[in-house]
């Protein structure tokens, strides 16, 4: 019986996965807050507490993500890009293009048939295709981010945003509200604008089916539908899309102790 721990300290949320003999035993997601070192320690404690073990019981820990280098108790670090690749390939061996929609960054990763990275790209200083856009939408509509997806599915006539910029879209959304557009139509419009950005990003690494969507954005069914419509095909979505990179980090740790 061997436990390994994978940690992904993202800009918005920290995620951790424990594998026992290579199988998922526990996972948690907590907000990262402003201190990545503390977030790494807290998410590790939370995931281990859940199954009643301590760090002393863990054979190896691999950390990834924006704050991965701050996890000082990790045995190794990897990039979130690589960990996403490993995690997605484990869950969906047929996936060749991964679109990860994180809180601050979106990434597109192209994989080969063995799950190795062929190429990747990240969005630049633009919130247009990231989870930040959804947070902005939730704020102006006075609702929780988690409720956005279901509500957007009720859209009758999605608003067409003239901009892909989250900052300008915020004022445009406010204008549409005052013109009487329904929240559902506004949200569906935001999803379409985001999907367009995300698919454009993926095109830059070369679209190759099957397509997987991960990250917090993949928990939004409306966004997933919009990306699916933009690509004209069904998408692979993990049951717990936020923890894909943490799962990948844990799998890297598992591979390392098996060697």
């Amino acid at each position: 019986m061997a436990f390994v721990l994978g940690i992904d300290v993202g800009s918005g949320y920290s995620k951790a996965v424990v594998l026992e003999d290579g199988k998922i035993r526990s996972y948690v997601v907590i907000p990262s807050g402003g201190d990545y070192r503390e977030a790494g320690a807290a998410v590790a404690k939370a995931v281990l507490d859940k199954i009643g073990i301590t760090r002393a019981d863990v054979a190896r820990t691999v950390a990834a993500g924006y704050g991965g280098n701050m996890v000082d108790f990790a045995d190794d670090t990897s990039t979130d890009i690589s960990c996403h690749a490993v995690g997605v390939h484990h869950l969906f061996p047929s996936a060749r293009t991964v679109m990860d929609v994180g809180a601050q960054y979106s990434r597109a990763i192209r994989l080969d048939d063995e799950g190795r990275i062929v190429n990747f790209i990240m969005n630049e200083k633009c919130a247009g295709g990231s989870g930040k856009f959804l947070q902005v939408a939730a704020r102006i509509l006075h609702m929780n981010v988690s409720d956005i997806g279901d509500l957007s599915l009720k859209a009758q006539k999605p608003v067409e945003f003239t901009t892909g910029c989250a900052v300008f879209a915020e004022s445009e959304a406010v204008s549409r509200i005052s013109e009487g557009a329904s929240p559902a139509d506004i949200l569906a419009g935001i999803h379409n604008a985001m999907a367009s950005k995300i698919v454009t990003l993926a095109m830059r690494v070369g679209l190759s089916p099957d397509y997987a969507v991960t990250g917090g954005g993949a928990m939004d069914v409306g966004l997933v539908n919009s990306i699916s419509a933009e690509l004209g095909t069904k998408l692979l979505v993990p049951d717990h899309p936020q923890v894909t990179a943490a799962l990948g980090a844990a799998l890297v740790a598992w591979q390392q102790i098996k060697v």
Binding site: Y66, D75, T77, D80, S82, V118, N119, I121, R204
Partner: protein
């Protein structure tokens, strides 16, 4: 596990003399008046270097000064000054940084206090040059003239035949050369008028001859970087380009490459490389660097990644390869050299369907320098040179090989575009991609 930061394994000691060159160029503008010389605000890579050198005109390189401000992370106040007069941040930040500096110098009547290395002197003339490389050069001197209304501006145009896969550029090359030669003649006339001196044509011919020798020596020196492990990478080359780029036609520039070549030969003999071990070789395939973040090259090196070659600032070629027609007119020679520098990749590009000269050049370097991947830097404020970078990367993959590519996006001067942690994260992921690619190739 905390990130282990290593110092650079090796940096050429010859490159360490570069700040002296840059500082010397700036102080030459400040001393010009007392030496009875005229100062010209000038731009690089436009064929005017030898004319200025042969007439003892001191070039004031605005691009270099803005780069120095950026490298010292001291550009913000000049950018803000230009912004205060409605120059957008999305304009070339070499231009806006320099214009902001000029605005302050005009207001104060002297270089602003604390200006990097004393700043640059007020010019006696401005030599703009619209060419295919950089569009701000039409407007930058004209915009500056708003603040220095008594300083005459002369804008020339140096063109080369545009790439047309279905056309034959050889048929029109001579026309472009004729046009460029006329423009250079007009430049000479303008300089004669401002300086009150006549061009010494024999001196110009000798200056051009020295430039040609420097071009050849530069390539001979840089080709030593093909060696594995490479004795010098792009981190150094962003410095060692200075003599070629800013001091062409001077003995000092030629002598610099004599020293650099000797040092690289010694390093090869001693088996000293930039990275130990050298794990991956990548090409800096396009784009000016972020001058405030040159340390990122050391970050690459610390991970075993080296850049044995770069397209940027390799602004010359072996003269023999250009197959220049014989002429006794030094201006005609400069014109031919200018046109052929750009067009000599055209024939190779035509042989590979779907390719372009810029991509063909990258492919040639990838093969000659045995590169595993490519890094492109897209600087948001330098539109004319960076606009086609995504297309170049896509074409490279399509017509050559699906090699790992990292596209970094930032700026040349504006540090607000930069996030070190994010950049290093991308570099790490790129290195993992290089490893996967190498494993796939076996």
């Amino acid at each position: 596990m905390a990130e282990e930061k290593k110092g650079r394994a090796v940096a050429t000691s010859t490159a360490a003399s570069i700040p002296k060159f840059v500082r010397g160029n700036l102080s030459a503008t400040l001393k010009a008046k007392e030496e009875g010389k005229k100062v010209a605000a000038a731009f690089i890579a436009d064929g005017q270097d030898e004319i200025m050198r042969a007439m003892d005109i001191v070039p004031a390189w605005g691009e270099s000064f803005s780069g120095v401000c950026a490298a010292k992370r001291d550009a913000e106040k000049y950018l803000q000054k230009a912004e205060s007069d409605n120059f957008s941040r999305s304009l070339c930040t070499y231009a806006t940084c320099n214009i902001g500096f000029d605005m302050m110098r005009e207001e104060l009547g002297q270089a602003p206090e604390g200006a990097p290395w004393g700043g640059m002197a007020r010019p006696d003339m401005m030599l703009g040059n619209g060419q295919l490389l950089c569009d701000p050069r039409f407007k930058w001197p004209q915009a500056t003239q708003h603040y220095q209304q008594d300083v005459p501006v002369f804008v020339t145009n140096m063109y080369y035949p545009p790439w047309d896969p279905n056309g034959d550029h050889h048929e029109v090359e001579e026309l472009y050369v004729k046009y460029a030669k006329e423009e250079l003649h007009e430049t000479v006339k303008f300089c004669e008028k401002i300086t009150g001196k006549k061009m010494d044509w024999d001196r110009l011919a000798k200056t051009v001859e020295l430039s040609d020798k420097t071009w050849d020596l530069f390539i001979d020196t840089y080709e030593l970087r093909k060696h594995i492990p490479t004795p010098m990478d792009t981190g150094d080359a962003m410095n060692t380009m200075v003599p070629l780029t800013f001091n062409l036609g001077t003995q000092e520039a030629y002598d610099f490459y004599v020293s650099l070549k000797a040092e690289l030969e010694q390093k090869i003999k001693d088996g000293i490389g930039v990275a130990d071990p050298e794990k991956f070789r990548v090409i800096w395939a396009a784009g000016l660097p972020s001058w405030f973040a040159l340390g990122d090259f050391q970050y690459f090196n610390s991970k075993g990644v080296v850049f044995p070659v770069e397209v940027t600032y390799r602004g010359c070629e072996k003269i023999e390869r250009l197959d220049l027609p014989k002429t006794n007119d030094p201006l005609e020679h400069i014109a031919w050299r200018w046109v052929r520098y750009w067009t000599h990749w055209y024939d190779a590009a035509k042989k590979r369907p779907g390719s372009t000269p810029k991509v063909e050049r990258i492919i040639e370097y990838i093969e000659d320098y045995k590169c595993d991947g490519a890094v492109f830097h897209s600087a948001f404020s330098c539109r004319s040179w960076h606009a086609g970078i995504m297309q170049q990367a896509a074409t490279l993959k399509k017509v050559y090989e699906d090699i790992p590519i990292l596209i970094m996006e930032g700026d040349i001067v504006d540090i607000s575009s930069y996030n070190e942690a994010d950049t290093h994260n991308r570099i790490d992921a790129f290195i993992e991609t290089l490893a996967a690619h190498k494993a796939r190739k076996g």
